[in-house]
Every structure is written in structure tokens, then in C-alpha cells.
Symmetry: C2
Subunit: 239 residues, 2 copies
DNA sequence: CGCAATTTTGATTTGAATCAATGTGAGTGG
DNA sequence: CCACTCACATTGATTCAAATCAAAATTGCG
């Protein structure tokens, strides 16, 4: 046996409600399933940050499963404004094309490892493996709900509340949140956060300053924040 | 043969880009597939507008496929603010639960016909019918992209632009848009539009007033609008 | 026809965008 | 090793779009 492909996992069923579930469960893909999937894939290790994986408008040849690292999915408007549509954490799927072309741009935020699946082959494989196809269906359904949730955040919360919800989302990922000390290692820049929350860097900073003044967040450094998760939950107020 | 279930269809692959495709293509489900699916389902006809189909937080027993009519999917915040997450048109799927509970509320906007699938049975059926499962996967992927698109609209467009994008979305549905006269029959209230666009009724009206002044929209009545689709596309500016 | 809900218009306030600087810190090369 | 630099982050001042509060108009329905 060469590998057990332990990092080939699909993230789903994380909490709609903040505070409910702590760490995000992953699907239990069986060893056999992982090996079959891995056979289709090419593994890609990217050391650089801000490395382009694919570009909005480009011809789509692959779908991706993130094994390690962090990836941002963004859309560039004709006027140059950028909207980040999602941050992808290990176990997330992305690169599902529309009519043969990518709709978004994907870039690494930290060094990352990807499983790259040739689109055609993957489609064929899923048709022949209903159980794995079912996992994919559940995963996409989960992603749809996450996106709907973000839509609610954007539609009905002011920036401080959006930021509170976002910090809690980050804190759900153990790799970046030291639960013992409540310290969050913010992996992305203020620009990324602003473009995800549909606001500006300045406004993100001001929201953070406000949290600091209220004692909800303590800044060890710009990228190291001690969070009071209960109060953040209260502020975000999504149940 | 009792029925050919011609209204059992799945809407997908509509345009990311405005103006590209006109009417929305539907999957060609074969007669056999439609009949098999229909066997699982119970047909529900709802004559009333604003009739509740399911409620946020309720136990989820069914998934739904809309055959006729219009349905809004909304989320109510603890403070009473409402965000409409999607409008569902014929061929749309909804009611995928999370951990056995509905996350949103679904209500009719116009009289509607629904195919109701018992969650368990549907799941089992899809596992046994990879080809139909594949259709579902494509459909959910499509819905995910639509929602991501709406996220971009909310994150990066001001209210007039959001409204322009929304009117174009409505105009893509032939049942509500008379292409010859460019007349849109707006089926939902200003409240619904505001709650979908993350704004207030007043602001929606003001945006519409601005369009009227600019000659982009002519109001025959509050719910009958003559659109200049090219200029709306220009305003929305999503490519 | 009249009433109630819906839609529109008006006045004021407010949160966030924008414009403008300043501060901070990690990495580089002298 | 320190100074220099550049990207990132924060703070401040001003402007502006949209929320909110308030009222009038309209419309479609019973």
C-alpha cells in the first residue's frame, strides 16, 4: 500500500447555527473509495501564496478537492471590484465549471495541496459510483446552504455583525483556532476579508477596533486575535 | 398511459451572463424517468397566494419540485427581519433539509403545483438511479452558482444595479415577460423584492423611479413594467 | 364605491464609502 | 546589525447612498 490518502476527505454538515457544532465533521469515505478517487486525480502541491489555480473565463478542464491549505474563490467585476465568493478549507470542492468555463478565479492563500480531477473522467466515474456521487450531492447541497447563509449575512447584517459571523466561521477550523486560548490565527488579509464581506478594508478595521473597545476581541497582532466567541455569537445574532 | 408529466422538469443551465440565453432550458428527462420520479411523488396544488409550504425549523419530511407557479424561500432573523434567499420558478427544486430540519420557510407567491418527494424515498431512489442523481447534482450545482451570483450582486452592486439585475432575471421567465412588447408582469410585491435585494421597499421604489426618469423602465401599473433590457444589462453591468 | 393593502413621495438621520494620512512590521540588502 | 522599503493595517475627515420615520397617493378588490 502506497498511501491511505487520509487527506482525501469531503467537508460537509458544519453548523448553520454558530456555536452548535465545534469542529467540522468530514465524510467517512472508505479506504477503497479514497483510493478509487485518488486514482483519478493528480496531486498538486503549491508552496506559494496568491498562486493562481484557475481564472475566471478560462476553459475548465479540472475540478478540485482541497486537501491542505486555504483557497479563495473570487469574481472580478468589469469595473475591477472584487467579490470573494468563498474561502475553501480542506475538504472543500471547487472548480465546477459552467458550460465548459470557470466562472470564478481560484487562488491559494496559504501553501496548499489539491487533488485535481479531470472533469470528464470525474463525471463518468460518479455515474458509475452512485454512492460517491451521493457524497458529492450532499457536499454541493451543503455548499449551497452555506452560500445562502452568507447571502443572509450580506443582506441583513451591518458590517460589525458580518465580521462577527466571519470570525466565528474561521474559528470553526481547528487548524487556525487555538481553542484553549481562544486565539484565532487569521490567515487572510484585511483586503480578503473586506472583499468577502462586501465592504472596504477601512470598515473592517473599524469594526475590529469597535470589538476591541468592547472587549470582544483582543489584538495580539493584526493576524492574531483572541476571541470571545459567546459574545461574537450574540453580536452576529444568527440564532 | 395516464399522464406524461410534461411539467415534471428540472430547470438548469440558465445564463450567468445576462442577455446570453433567453428562455431557460430544462433538462430532457425521458418519459420513463419522469414516470419513475412521479411515482415517488405526491402532487400538491395550492390555489392561495402566501400559502405556507414549510417553515424554518420544522422537521423535514419532503423535498419539492415546482411544476407551476412561483415560490419564495425566506429566512427570518431573530429580530424579525426577513431575507428572501431565492425565488423558485417552475423546474426548481427546494426543501433539501439540514440535519432533518428545514432551514428556510417556503411560501407560494402565485397559485402553484408541486411534486412532493418523501425525503427518504427520494434519497434511496437517487442512489438506485445514477443518471437521475446526476441530473440532481447538476441542478444543485447550478443553484449554487446562481446563489453565488446573487452574493456578488449583493456584495458589489448598489440598489439600482441590484434591481436591474433582478428585473432581467424576471424577464428570463417567459410566463411573466411578454417579449414582443417588453412587458414584465411583476408577480411579487415590493416587499418581496426589497427582502430579496437586501434593502427596503422605499429604496426599491426610488430605484424604479430613477429608472422611469431615465427612460429605462415605463410603469404601466405597479406590477406591469415595460423594460429596456439592453439598458438594464448595461446598468447591472455583470459582463 | 369604498376600504385596506400596496406603492410612492418627502424629510431626516445614519452607517459606510471614499479620500487622505499615518503607523507597523516583516523581509532585504548595504 | 541596522536602515530602508513595501505591503499591510489603522486612524481621521468628509461625502454620500440608503435606512428610517412620516405621510400621501394609488390601486385593486370585495
Amino acid at each position: 500500500m502506497n498511501h491511505d490518502y487520509a487527506d482525501l476527505k469531503i467537508r460537509a454538515v458544519n453548523g448553520w447555527r454558530h456555536g452548535a457544532r465545534r469542529e467540522v465533521p468530514h465524510f467517512a469515505l472508505s479506504m477503497a473509495e479514497r483510493q478509487e478517487l485518488a486514482r483519478l486525480a493528480q496531486i498538486m502541491d503549491i508552496k506559494a501564496a496568491s498562486a493562481r489555480i484557475f481564472t475566471q473565463g478560462g476553459a475548465a478542464a479540472h475540478s478540485y478537492l482541497l486537501a491542505r491549505g486555504l483557497v479563495r474563490i473570487s469574481y472580478m467585476m468589469p469595473d475591477g471590484a472584487r467579490q470573494i465568493v468563498a474561502f475553501n478549507w480542506p475538504g472543500d470542492l471547487f472548480g465546477m465549471a459552467e458550460e465548459g468555463h470557470y466562472v470564478h478565479t481560484a487562488e491559494t492563500i496559504t501553501p496548499s495541496r489539491l487533488y485535481c480531477f479531470p472533469t470528464q473522467k470525474l463525471e463518468q466515474f460518479l455515474l458509475e459510483n452512485p454512492k460517491i456521487q451521493d457524497r458529492f450531492l450532499i457536499k454541493i447541497t451543503h455548499d449551497l446552504r452555506q452560500t445562502q447563509r452568507q447571502l443572509i449575512v450580506m443582506g441583513r447584517l451591518d458590517v460589525p455583525r458580518r465580521l462577527a459571523a466571519f470570525l466565528l466561521d474561521c474559528a470553526a477550523h481547528e487548524a487556525y483556532f487555538e481553542a484553549a486560548s481562544f486565539t484565532l490565527n487569521v490567515p487572510m488579509s484585511r483586503y480578503d476579508i473586506a472583499d468577502y464581506l462586501g465592504t472596504s478594508v477601512e470598515t473592517v478595521t473599524r469594526a475590529l477596533t469597535k470589538f476591541t473597545e468592547q472587549g470582544v476581541v483582543r489584538r495580539l497582532s493584526p493576524r492574531k486575535l483572541v476571541l470571545s466567541t459567546p459574545r461574537l455569537r450574540q453580536i452576529a445574532g444568527l440564532s
